[in-house]
Amino acid sequence: MNNWNDIEKKIVEDSEKLGMTFQEGYWDEMEHMLDENDEDIASAALYGSGGSSSGDEGLFQEEYWDEMSLILDKEDRRKRRALWLRWTFHAAAVLLLMFTVFNHNNSTVDISNSNQQLADSTQSSKENTAKTATASTAENLNKNNAPTPLNSIVKREEDQTAIKSELLTQNVLRKRNNSTPISSIKLEKSSKPEMSFQPEELSQQTSSLAALSLPTISLNSPEIVRSESLNGFKNKPRRNRMLPISLNLVASSNVALAPKGNISNQSRIGSNTSLGIELTKHQVNWSLSLGANFSHKTGLNHELLRTKATYGTRLYREHQSVEYKSIGSVGIPVGVNYHRKRDVFGIRLTPT
């Protein structure tokens, strides 16, 4: 094996031994077989994995596919129906919610409106009503009759005499007994009006008691709540401004006086920003607060200087300076606030 010719000859001999030579007859036979099987292969690809048209397993079965298409159509209709039902349910839920909210708003009559109504009716009936009303009248009425619901008076606007008398007695009762203010009474529209007394009886009782020359209260008396005062209820919001507990997000940005430090380029001012939360417990005019905050302070003007001697092949003196740029700290502010209308004065003590 000295040259390439010897190598080539050796390869040809080995390939002949292994039968790797090209034999044209073999490939003609193979091509003929492939042509014969073309139809079978195509049918196998179409109808299944059987690969042979002679067997029943690879055949196209029309009944099977009809059944499958029916099932698929049914599934499709079912899906569409489910989708429609779901959207219908959602729409119904939204409508129900809207109706509930709307109905709730209507069923609760704003007390400011009722007070305004009462005030208007009081003013319009000034000429027709008696000029005095006694406190004992109120007590008698309260004793003889069950507590009169206020909505019954509102419903009977036509009887102005009864409204006027009842208003006066309510006011006197409220002043004397320090009872629940009118603003705390919630009226329901749907409740059935019940009159525990007749207006005629009330006017008779009032006139008869007035005839007994009992202590009288003039309309100009400060015990009588004027219609202007009643109008004041209208301006009050329905929600209490002072609520027991509130959670607040508090952020502050301060300009700080920079301290005189030990660095060469000193800044005169610094900053102190903080962000935190506070839980506040409200009283009438006071509130207590407790929270947590993170504050970031800059403008420190200080550095830490150190010198260290190191011995090697010679003496090294190493200077280390650490310049403080900012400080971050976590604090727990505890505070007291005084509320005056919209103004709040507060004091905070914050350990950091």
Partner: protein, 89 residues
């Protein structure tokens, strides 16, 4: 308390190595302070209030045993604050 610092090393030949943002070094800084803040706020609506405040610290935040050439550092700042009520119960 977290400090962010600039950290410089210089050797005998005045070669300077500057290392920035060495967080956590607090030697010479007193970690505790007590701050008093007086504030005034005005409510703009139900949830938002703005105001001003004055804040002062009670303790010197520099340790004179470590940072000797210092006159000390006490907090005194004036600023604005905003308060937002997240919820009420």
């Amino acid at each position: 308390m977290v400090n962010s610092t600039y950290h410089r090393y210089t050797n005998y030949n005045s070669d300077e190595l500057l290392v920035k943002n060495n967080y956590g070094i607090k030697e010479g800084i007193n970690p505790f302070d007590l701050r008093l803040k007086l504030m005034y706020q005005r409510r703009l609506n139900e949830n938002l209030a703005v105001g001003v405040n004055v804040s002062t610290g009670f303790f010197n935040q520099i340790d004179p045993n470590i940072i000797t050439n210092s006159k000390g550092m006490k907090e005194f700042s004036v600023g604005v604050n905003v308060q937002y009520t997240l919820f009420r119960r």
